[in-house]
Structures are given as structure tokens and as C-alpha cells.
């Protein structure tokens, strides 16, 4: 008793993958993902086309919308680069959200402790501490992963909750601004701790930091021996060890840098946007980063491009909240897109044959 329809769907391996397939699959994934999510928007009694149009206008229809899209793309790029590095080694770091919060906390500590330091000292210091604390938060689950093979997917995810609760503890407790009318916020940063903006918008220097990180990551992965090791380790841990590569050290290092990049995103958010630490500084950048990294097939340049698209999705999400949508709707769209991204992957290396016979060709 075989299901007949299953035998009729059959994937045939492509000999070569045309360039246009590589581009078409992700674009189609987004379009079809939005159509799929549209079914659920209909159940809320709204017309999905109107909703998407409203989102598109909000994100790309005005100078303000566009600049906000860029603003959101900054932390997405940094966290996206971070998780993509770990994914390359088949390390499922889904803790970028928590790593971002810890980085924000580290940067905030320095900004509040030494507000009088000149900007040329304070800002790099905050960047370094953000990187360091995000990195440590990535390193904590990496240690049991490297030495005991403890499942890092679960530990990195659970640490997100811990990091967010820890920051909440600080902003509701010891770090709360005494002049903040009891809001869960720290005191505002001094002038010296604020990232300069580029032109008349909220786009801050973090954009340049993200670009530098992209270039660095690209160069490291493409041109250094260590980058080669990461790529090999990702293909096969066994091969990497046979080749004499230090697999354990590479896990620790990759997770540290991966967390560190998310930590920098936390630094640029508090320093460039909120200009203080507060409850809920991230609308889930660390989770969106996973989708971006996968959609970009872990390519640093593609991550930059995809981050702008998803930055637009976030900004568009804000503009539909005024017409009665939950902030969670954006997550639904993101999840739906990711379904088609992972489902579409098989079409990059295979072509679909209907009604053909299964079995070896």
C-alpha cells in the first residue's frame, strides 16, 4: 500500500544550476510566502493586498519610511552576519537576540559609568564592550557544545530568555533612571556616548560599522586559512579533524565572534537609536537574523541586501499596527517566507518531475 501521489512527485538532480535559478528561488519564496500568509490575513477580515500595499508604502513610499528601513537594516545586518558565521560551521546559534541584549548592556555600562570620556574613547570602548559581552553570551553555550556535544540550538535559545530578563532586572531595578517617571529605562546617555547620524535622519554611523563587518567577514571567509577551516568544518567535522584543524577551538572562536557581532548590534541600537538602555530594545532582530542569513544563503553581500528588505518589512509592520494589526503579524510573514525559502532549496539543485518514475535514473 504505497501512496500513489507520493511516487508521482519526483526530484531529478540538476547537473548545473543556472544563475537565474539562484536569484529566482529566493524572490519567489518571498512572493509565495506573502501569498500564503495572506490566507491567514483574510481570516482577520482584512484584504491582504491592501495590507501589503500599506506596508510597502510605509517602508519604501516616503523619504522617512526609507530612512527608517535603513535604520532597521543596521541591527539586522550585524545579527544576520553573526548567525551566518555560526551556521557556516553547522552551529545553530539562535541566540542572537540574547547576545544583542548583552552587548547593549555592556555598552550601556560604560556609557553610564564614564559619561565624561571624550567620544573618540567612549564610543570605541562601548563598541568593544558590546562585542565582548555579546561574544561571551555566545561562548557560554559554545563551551558545552564543543566539549560535550550539548545541543546548542536549545541552549542558545534558552539563554535569550535569560538575557532579556537580566536586562529587565537592570532597567526595572538598579539601573532605573531616578528621573524617569518610573519607566523601565536607564538615564539618557551623555552626548559623547551617542553615535553620530548621517544626514538629517536617524541613520547613524552603525551603518558604516555594519558595512565594515560585512567586508571583514567576506575577506576572512574567502581569503584566510581560518576562513577555509570554517568552511571545511561546516561541510564535515570529521574531515576537519582529520586535516588537523582544531575543531574545538574553532567552535569556541566562531561562537564568540558570532555573538560579538550581535553584541555590536546591541551597542549601535542603544547608542544610535534609544540613546539609553530600556525594556524591549529589540523587536526580535535576533530571530529575523536567522531568516535573513538563510535567505541570503549565508553570503555576506546577500545578507546586506536581504537586511534592507526585512528592515522594510519591520517598518511596514509598524504602519499596519495603526489599522488594528498585532506586532506579531510581521513574525507570521517572516515565518511564512522562511517556509518557502527552506522548501524552495530543493529546486536549486533539483528539478521537479511530475508523473515520472521514482528510482535511480
Amino acid at each position: 500500500m504505497r501512496c500513489e501521489w507520493m511516487a508521482k512527485i519526483h526530484f531529478e538532480k540538476r547537473n548545473t544550476t543556472a544563475k537565474w535559478v539562484l536569484f529566482l528561488v529566493p524572490i519567489l519564496s518571498i512572493v509565495v510566502g506573502l501569498c500564503f500568509a495572506g490566507i491567514f490575513i483574510v481570516t482577520t477580515g482584512k484584504n491582504p493586498l491592501d495590507v501589503y500595499l500599506l506596508m510597502f508604502e510605509g517602508a519604501f513610499g516616503s523619504a522617512y519610511g526609507l530612512s527608517e528601513t535603513v535604520v532597521k537594516a543596521i541591527p539586522l545586518m550585524l545579527t544576520g552576519l553573526g548567525v551566518s558565521l555560526a551556521f557556516r560551521m553547522q552551529l545553530w546559534n539562535i541566540g542572537a537576540e540574547g547576545q544583542l541584549y548583552m552587548g547593549a548592556m555592556g555598552a550601556t555600562w560604560l556609557a553610564l559609568r564614564f559619561p565624561e570620556w571624550p567620544a573618540y574613547l567612549l564610543l570605541p570602548g562601548m563598541l568593544l564592550l558590546g562585542f565582548l559581552l555579546g561574544g561571551i553570551w555566545g561562548l557560554i553555550p559554545a563551551i558545552p557544545r564543543a566539549f560535550l556535544k550539548v545541543n546548542e540550538t536549545i541552549t542558545t535559545l534558552l539563554l535569550n530568555y535569560v538575557a532579556i530578563l537580566w536586562v529587565d532586572y537592570l532597567v526595572y531595578g538598579p539601573w532605573k533612571d531616578p528621573n524617569g517617571f518610573n519607566f523601565p529605562i536607564t538615564a539618557p546617555f551623555s552626548e559623547n556616548a551617542i553615535l553620530p547620524v548621517l544626514g538629517p535622519s536617524r541613520i547613524h554611523v552603525g551603518l558604516l560599522i555594519a558595512f565594515v563587518a560585512t567586508i571583514l567577514l567576506f575577506v576572512i571567509l574567502r581569503y584566510t586559512k581560518w576562513g577555509f577551516e570554517i568552511r571545511v568544518s561546516g561541510e564535515s567535522a570529521v574531515a576537519a579533524q582529520y586535516a588537523g584543524m582544531n575543531y574545538v577551538r574553532n567552535i569556541l572562536l566562531v561562537m564568540f565572534i558570532s555573538g560579538g557581532l550581535a553584541g555590536i548590534a546591541g551597542m549601535t541600537e542603544v547608542s544610535g537609536i534609544t540613546q539609553r538602555l530600556q525594556h524591549g530594545i529589540s523587536p526580535g532582530y535576533g530571530y529575523t537574523a536567522i531568516i535573513i542569513a538563510w535567505l541570503a544563503r549565508l553570503n555576506p553581500w546577500a545578507i546586506v541586501v536581504v537586511s534592507f528588505v526585512f528592515g522594510g518589512l519591520l517598518v511596514g509592520g509598524y504602519s499596519i499596527q495603526t489599522s488594528g494589526f498585532s506586532a506579531a503579524t510581521v513574525a507570521m510573514l517572516q515565518g511564512a517566507i522562511l517556509f518557502f525559502v527552506v522548501g524552495g532549496e530543493i529546486f536549486i539543485e533539483h528539478r521537479l518531475r511530475l508523473g515520472g518514475k521514482g528510482g535511480k535514473p
Binding site: 501512496c3 558545552p144 560535550l148 545541543n151 540550538t153 517572516q334 522562511l338 528510482g359
Partner: protein, 310 residues
């Protein structure tokens, strides 16, 4: 006094552990057949919101639980199609399911926040058994879903380890190529197990919105789906061990509340961290132990099956 406090900690632990238990047993089915589903959190949330909506509409919490079962199964079907038919990466597909489920439940539940339910699952003490000292209040003064959970543990343990069906499931998870050669329909077994997993996760979620804290709140599962995934490793893929694990995690979950009644004041933020931190600690300890005792994880866990590369 001392005794009654211990009893009440364990008794509330049983209740708090029930949603995790359902979800973990579901995940055991999927993983025994070789499919990791990290969408548990998302399936639970969709189960919770669906159960709540249907209970609100029909004024029957049983219909609500049934709807949650179906909703969870449908969610899992997406994961099954992606990972089994399209051979997609199981980790990423599961993550997509969690993100999607979180978003979907938040979207359709937007206007349900703060609405009271007309009917909920209420404790039904079992005549006779509930009078037993210690065991009575711990096990037999709860609602129907808790009792069904006990039955489910026994049933699933029996099915997985004592029946031919269970053997087929485990064969598919261990070595799908060999199972296929032996005439087992690998795809059908995997589809069935993943969907059963989603159904149970759906009920686990509905337990939160219909019994544990009857209400709907965005993200009300608060990581319980992930704790359930960790619990599966803790239980070494065995439903009966999952029961004791869920009790442990349930007790940790309610620990904060009991500490406060004892007059021990710790910041509530730290108390809320406890379940996550203890889950991580337990996961590390258990992984070390399982390696020492060579407890085998399902051999083909996380690997797609491609008939043509058999």
C-alpha cells in the same frame, strides 16, 4: 506543615508540567521516527489560541481542546511536507514553524486578550484515589487533561516499545534505508509521527489557555516548547521518563511562587530565569551521562531520507 508544603509543590508541579509533558511526548514520536521538530513552541501557541477561540465560540472546553489538537496537527503537517517530501533542513524548517506560529497566534489572538472564558477545565478529584495521603493530592486532584496525560504516557510507552508499530517507528528513525528495504513506508511513518507530535503540542498549548491560566496572552508559552525539546533529550526519547522530567520542570516552574510564600524574597526576574537556567544545566548533565552510558539517540535523527540515494 513541612509535609503539606512539599506535597503542594509536587502537586502544582504536576499541573505546571502537564503542557510540557504533552509537547514532549509529541516530540518523542517525531524524533523516534527521525524528524527533529523545533516548531514545538509555535505549535503550542497556535494550539493555545485555537483552543481558546473555539471554547469561546462553542462554550465547550472539550471542543476547544479538540480544535487545538487539529490546529497543532496542521502546523506539523507543514513541517512534515517541508522536511520529508522536500527534504528541507529540519532545524531551519522547525525554526520557521516557531516564528510563524508565534506570529499567527499573535495575529489571530489580537482581540482575545483579557476576555474571560465561559468554561474551563476544572479539577475533578478521583473518587477514592484522591483520599490517599501524599499520592492523592499529588496525582488525583487535578483536571481531566492531567489524567489523560498519565494515560498518554503509558499508552505511548507501550506503543513505542511493546508493539510492532512502535518497532516500525523506531526502525525508521534508526535506519530508514533498512526500514524501507524491509517494506516499511518510511514517508508515511514519518508523516504520521510528525503530525501526532504536532497534535500533542497543540493540546499542550491549549492546556495553558484552558486550564493552567485560562486566558489568552501573546507568547503565553514563554519558552515551554523549547523546554519540552530539551526534556526529550533528558528523557532519552522514552515517554515514561518524560513524565518524571515534566514533574521536575513543572516543580521548578512553580518554585518561585512557593519561595515567595515561604517569605524568601528574590527578585522576580531571577525567579523567572530559573526554569531556563535549570533546563540548560540539566541538559549539560544529561548529555554527559548519556554519552557515558552510550544511550543511543535515534540513528537517523535530523537526516532527510532520499530513496534515490539509498
Amino acid at each position: 506543615m513541612e509535609q503539606s508544603l512539599l506535597v503542594s509543590i509536587i502537586a502544582t508541579g504536576v499541573i505546571a508540567g502537564t503542557p510540557i509533558l504533552y509537547a514532549a511526548i509529541g516530540e518523542i514520536f517525531a524524533e523516534q521516527a527521525g524528524v527533529i521538530n523545533l516548531g514545538v513552541e509555535g505549535m503550542m501557541l497556535v494550539g493555545a489560541v485555537t483552543g481558546f477561540m473555539v471554547t469561546l465560540q462553542t462554550e465547550s472546553h472539550w471542543l476547544g481542546a479538540g480544535a487545538a489538537l487539529i490546529a497543532g496537527g496542521l502546523m506539523a503537517l507543514i513541517h512534515a511536507f517541508l522536511t520529508i517530501t522536500l527534504r528541507a533542513n529540519q532545524v531551519v524548517s522547525g525554526l520557521a514553524l516557531t516564528v510563524f506560529g508565534t506570529g499567527l497566534s499573535g495575529t489571530i489572538g489580537k482581540n482575545l486578550i483579557g476576555i474571560p472564558l465561559p468554561t474551563t477545565f476544572k479539577p475533578v478529584p478521583v473518587a477514592g484515589l484522591s483520599e490517599i495521603p501524599w499520592l492523592g493530592p499529588i496525582l488525583f486532584q487535578h483536571d481531566w487533561l492531567v489524567y489523560l496525560g498519565y494515560g498518554l504516557v503509558i499508552l505511548c510507552w507501550f506503543v513505542l516499545y511493546k508493539t510492532k508499530t512502535g518497532l516500525k517507528v523506531r526502525a525508521v528513525g534508526e535506519n530508514p534505508g533498512a526500514a524501507d528495504a524491509a517494506g516499511i513506508h518510511v514517508f508515511a511513518v514519518r508523516y504520521a509521527c510528525v503530525v501526532i507530535g504536532g497534535m500533542l503540542a497543540g493540546i499542550g498549548g491549549a492546556y495553558l489557555s484552558l486550564a493552567y491560566a485560562p486566558s489568552w496572552l501573546e507568547n503565553m508559552t514563554a519558552g515551554r516548547g523549547w523546554i519540552a525539546v530539551a526534556l526529550v533529550i533528558f528523557a532519552t526519547w522514552n515517554p515514561s521518563k518524560a513524565f518524571f522530567g515534566s514533574l521536575l520542570f513543572g516543580a521548578v516552574d512553580v518554585m518561585g511562587f512557593h519561595l515567595q510564600t515561604l517569605g524568601i524574597t528574590i527578585s522576580s526576574f531571577f525567579l523567572k530565569m530559573l526554569p531556563y537556567l535549570i533546563t540548560i544545566a540539566v541538559l549539560i548533565l544529561v548529555t554527559r551521562e548519556t554519552k557515558k552510558r552510550h544511550v543511543a539517540t535515534p540513528g537517523a535523527l535530523g537526516v532527510s531520507y532520499n530513496r534515490e540515494e539509498r
